[in-house]
C-alpha cells in the first residue's frame, strides 16, 4: 500500500514515522492527492493518516447513492466541496426501472446544508432532482459554482431559473440528456445583467427557445466562457454572432445549420469559425445539409472530439469533414454515415481512440446502417482505438477477430448487434468466437458489452481471460447457469454486472455470493431468478441490499428485476412500494 505522491517506497516505514509526522505537512502533501483510489489507500494506512485524509478531502465520488448515506459521508468528510453522485442502475436509461424508484438528491442536499458544507460543485448522474431541490441548492450554498446534470429527471426549466437567479458565483451549468420538463426558455434570462462568471454553459438538452439577445449579452460579458453548447433553436446566423463574442471557446455545440444562408452570411460564419483557434470539441450540428459544413472547416484543425451523434450525416459529408481534422481522437457518429463513412474514418483518423456509432431513428424500408465491414475498415486505419461503442445490423466472428488483432488496446468494447440472439450471419454460428477473441487479445479490457447469439462458451472465456474487466453488460445471451458462474468465479476486477433476459437462475445468482462484496452492483432482469433465491442471498449476505422490483400481474415467485449492491447505509429508507428489500 504505497500511497502515490509520497515518494517513499516503504509504507510500513512511513507508518512508524507517521505518528510523528507533522499534521501540517501531511495536509500539504495530501492536498496534492486527487485520485480517489489513492486517497482510499492513504486512509487505510493508520489512524493518523485516516484523519488527515478525511479532513483534507474536498471531492467525494459516490458511484451508488444508496451505498452510503449523506450523514455518513458528511461525518467522515466535513470539508468536502465537490460531490459526484450516481443514482439509478444504468438500465434505467432503457426504461427497465419503473418511475419513482428513488435516487432523489433531496435528502443529500438537506444534510449538506444542515452540516454547513461549503458545497461548490454537484455532479449528478441518473438522479431524481426536483425543482424544489434546485431552488434549495441555489439558496443554501452561496459559493456554489458548478452544476452538472446527466441523465437525470424530475425537474423543469423552473429549477434552472432558480439556479440562474440565485447562484452568484456560478461557473458551470451543464444540462445533458435529461428528462426535463421543458416549460420555456425564460430561465436563461434569469442570469443577472452583471453576472459574468460563467465558464461552461450547456443547454443543448433543452427544446424551447431562449431569448437570444439575453444569451448574446451573457456570452459577451462572460470572458472566461470556455464551453458553450446551445440548443437547436439557435440558428447559424445567431451562432455566428455568439462566436464573434467568444472566439476563446474550447468546446462548442452548435444549433441547426438548416436554413439557407446568403453568401455573405456564409463567409461571415466561416470567418467567425476561423477565429476560433482553440476549439477542441465540436458537437450539435443537428439538421445539417452538405453545403453548410464548409464554414466549420477553419475550426477543425485542432479538433480532438467531434460529436456528430445527433447529426444525420452521410458518408460524403463526413469524409470531407474528417479530412480537415487531423488530430481527431474521439468521434461519435450516427449509422447514417454507413460503412463508406467508416472507411473514411479509417483513412483520415490515425489518432483515433474513441469511436461510437449510434443507430439513427429511422422508419426506412431499405437496409441501412453499418455492418462489420465498416468496423473492420476503422480497425485497419486506427490502431490506437481503445473505446468503441458500435450498433450494427450484422457481425461475424471473423470480423471481430480481425478488429481486435488490429487494435489490441481496447479498454472499452461495447458491441450491440441490434437483433437479439443473432448469430454470425455468414457461418450461422454463435458469436462466441468473437468475444473470446476480444477477451484473449485485449488484456486491458475494462468494460465489455456483448450481444448476438452467445452460449456459455463466451462466459467461460470472459471469466478466464478478462483479468482487468470492471463492467460487464449482458443481454439475451448464455445457455445456462454455468455461464454466469464462470463470470462470477473469474474476473477478479469486476465491479458492475448488469444482465437482462438471460437463462441464469438461482444457482448462478447464489454462486457469486462472496463476489458481491466486491461489486458495486448487480442487476438481473427477466432472468430465471426466483424470490426464494433472492431471499437466500439476502440471508447469506445480510450486509448486501438485495432488492426486488415487483410488477403488477407478474408471477409471484419470480424475481423479475433484481438489484443487489453493497451498502454501509443498510436497507433503503425511501424505497417505493414496488421495491422489496429482502
Amino acid at each position: 500500500m504505497d500511497p502515490k505522491g509520497k515518494g517513499s517506497p516503504d509504507a510500513s516505514g512511513l507508518a512508524r514515522v507517521g505518528s510523528t509526522f507533522p499534521d501540517e505537512v501531511m495536509q500539504i502533501v495530501l492536498a496534492l492527492l486527487n485520485s480517489h483510489r489513492d486517497r482510499s489507500s492513504v486512509s487505510l494506512v493508520c489512524k493518523n493518516w485516516y484523519d488527515a485524509e478525511r479532513f483534507s478531502r474536498t471531492h467525494v465520488f459516490i458511484g451508488n447513492c444508496y451505498s452510503v448515506s449523506p450523514e455518513i459521508v458528511t461525518r467522515r468528510f466535513p470539508n468536502i466541496r465537490k460531490v459526484t453522485l450516481k443514482g439509478k442502475p444504468r438500465f434505467a436509461d432503457f426504461n427497465l426501472v419503473p418511475p419513482n424508484w428513488g435516487a432523489d438528491i433531496r435528502s443529500w442536499l438537506l444534510v449538506f446544508a444542515a452540516r454547513n458544507l461549503c458545497l461548490e460543485e454537484l455532479r449528478l448522474k441518473r438522479m431524481t432532482v426536483s425543482d424544489e431541490s434546485l431552488k434549495f441548492l441555489s439558496l443554501s450554498f452561496p459559493n456554489f459554482k458548478a452544476l452538472s446534470l446527466l441523465h437525470c429527471d424530475g425537474f423543469s426549466t423552473d429549477g434552472l431559473a432558480a439556479i440562474a437567479t440565485h447562484c452568484m458565483n456560478l461557473a458551470e451549468l451543464d444540462i445533458q440528456e435529461n428528462d426535463i420538463n421543458d416549460k420555456s426558455g425564460s430561465w436563461l434570462s434569469c442570469f443577472p445583467e452583471n453576472f459574468s462568471s460563467l465558464e461552461v454553459l450547456n443547454f443543448a438538452n433543452l427544446r424551447n427557445e431562449v431569448n437570444f439577445e439575453a444569451l448574446d449579452r451573457l456570452v459577451s460579458r462572460c470572458k472566461s466562457l470556455k464551453v458553450l453548447k446551445v440548443n437547436k433553436n439557435i440558428s447559424a446566423e445567431q451562432l455566428k454572432r455568439l462566436l464573434v463574442h467568444a472566439p476563446q471557446l474550447t468546446e462548442l455545440g452548435t444549433g441547426t445549420f438548416l436554413q439557407d444562408l446568403t453568401s455573405c452570411q456564409y463567409s461571415e460564419l466561416e470567418s467567425a469559425f476561423n477565429k476560433c483557434k482553440n476549439l477542441k470539441t465540436l458537437s450539435g450540428l443537428s439538421e445539417v445539409t452538405a453545403l453548410h459544413l464548409t464554414p466549420l472547416y477553419p475550426a477543425c484543425t485542432n479538433l480532438i472530439f467531434l460529436n456528430l451523434s445527433y447529426s444525420a450525416l452521410k458518408d460524403v459529408q463526413l469524409a470531407k469533414l474528417l479530412v480537415r481534422c487531423p488530430c481527431l481522437r474521439r468521434l461519435w457518429v450516427l449509422e447514417t454515415v454507413g460503412d463508406k463513412g467508416l472507411e473514411a474514418v479509417g483513412s483520415n483518423c490515425p489518432m483515433l481512440e474513441d469511436l461510437r456509432v449510434f443507430p439513427a431513428d429511422t422508419f426506412e424500408d431499405i437496409a441501412h446502417g453499418v455492418t462489420e465491414s465498416g468496423f473492420v475498415s476503422v480497425s485497419y486505419g486506427c490502431p490506437r482505438l481503445r473505446y468503441v461503442l458500435y450498433f450494427c445490423q450484422q457481425m461475424t466472428n471473423a470480423a471481430v477477430a480481425t478488429i481486435v488483432h488490429n487494435c489490441p488496446n481496447f479498454t472499452h468494447f461495447r458491441l450491440c448487434i441490434m437483433n437479439p440472439c443473432q448469430p454470425d450471419y455468414q457461418t450461422n454460428e454463435p458469436m462466441d468466437k468473437a468475444f473470446c477473441a476480444v477477451v484473449k487479445t485485449c488484456a486491458k479490457l475494462q468494460r465489455l458489452a456483448v450481444s448476438g447469439l452467445l452460449t456459455d462458451v463466451t462466459f467461460e472465456s470472459i471469466g478466464r481471460y478478462a483479468k482487468s474487466l470492471k463492467t460487464l453488460s449482458v443481454a439475451f445471451a448464455g445457455s445456462s447457469d454455468w455461464g454466469m458462474q464462470c463470470v462470477l468465479g473469474g474476473c477478479p476486477k469486476l465491479r458492475k454486472l448488469e444482465i437482462r433476459d438471460c437463462p441464469f437462475g438461482n444457482a448462478a445468482l447464489l454462486s457469486g455470493f462472496k463476489k458481491y462484496d466486491s461489486l458495486r452492483s448487480l442487476w438481473m432482469s427477466d432472468c430465471k431468478v426466483t424470490m426464494n433465491g433472492c431471499r437466500l442471498l439476502a440471508k447469506e449476505r445480510p450486509w448486501l441490499n438485495v432488492e426486488v422490483m415487483k410488477e403488477e400481474g407478474s408471477n409471484e415467485s419470480r424475481a423479475n428485476k433484481v438489484y443487489v449492491y453493497r451498502s454501509v447505509a443498510g436497507p433503503r429508507r425511501d424505497a417505493p412500494p414496488f421495491v422489496l428489500t429482502l
Binding site: 428528462d179 431513428d361 429511422t362 424500408d365 440472439c421 450461422n428 454463435p430 437463462p503 430465471k528 419470480r558
Partner: protein, 300 residues
Amino acid sequence: MDGTLGLLGRGGGGGSSGSSTNESTVSKVEIVEQDFVGMPSEASSYPEEAELELGLGLSLGGGGGAAAVKAKASTWGERGRILTAKDFPSVVSHGGSAPSRLSDRATAGALGAVSGTKRAAESVSQEGGSPTGASQVVGWPPIRAYRMNSLVNQAKSQRAEEDKMIGEQDKSKDASKKKIYTKTDITPKEKGHLGFVKVNMDGVPIGRKVDLNAHSCYSSLAQMLEDMFFRSTSTAKSTGGEKEQVKSSKLLDGSSEFVLTYEDKDGDWMLVGDVPWGMFLGSVKRLRIMRTSEANGLGI
C-alpha cells in the same frame, strides 16, 4: 420467413438468418426468439415505454417522460389504439415473461402467437434480405429515449422547415431545385415538400409513397391506394413478398380485409377518416394498410 409477416416464424423468426441450422443451440434460440419475433420491421431503435414501444415501436417524439407516456396511454383508449403490451400483461417482456419464455417450449408457441400479434403494428416487413428489425422488446436496443426523441424531432422540424420554405417561395420556379435538395438531403423519412408520405401494407415488403396533396378527400386517396396495392397486375411493383389475393374492396368502410391507418405527428396510430381532411393532412406522417384482424381497438 413464414407466410405471415414472420411474426410467428420459428426457424426464421427473430431475424436470425440461420438460427435453425445451429444444432447445439437451436432449441434455445427458437425459444428465445419466440418472444421477440416480429423482427421483420425496420431496424429501429425505439424508446422503451411498454405502451408505445411494444405496440407501435414508435418514438415518443417530443420529450416523452414517463408521465407523458402515461397520459398518452389513457387518451389512446378513448381514440382507439393498436394492441399494446398492456393487452398481454403476462406475456410482455416488461412484465417479465421469463417463466414461460425461456423454459417452457410447449407454451412458447402460444406465446409466440401472442407476441406476434402484439407487435403487429410495427411489422412492416423488410424487403427480402436479412430481417433487421431490432425487436420491440422493452429497452432494446439499448438506446436512451432522449436520443431517439431528439432524432425524431429533428426529422419533424426538418419537415416543418421545408414546408415553411415551400410556402415562402415560388413553387413552380423552385420545384425542381427543391426536389434535388430534398433528395440529397439527410433524413428521407420526412414527408417531403410535395406532401408525399410513405405507405406500407402488411405482408408487402416494399412500401410506396403517395402525394397527399394530389388528393382533396379521403375517397380519392383510398382509391389510389387500392389501385396501388390491390391491383397488382396493373402496378409496377416487383415484390416477391406475400402478396395477398384481395378482392377489390373499400379500405375505408371496413368491408375489406384491411384497414387504412395513419401515424400522426404525436406518434399515435389512428384510423383514417375520422377527422376532417385538412386536419388529417396537417398531422399525418405516414400511412399503413393494416390487416383488420390486427387493428382491433381502432374502433372497427
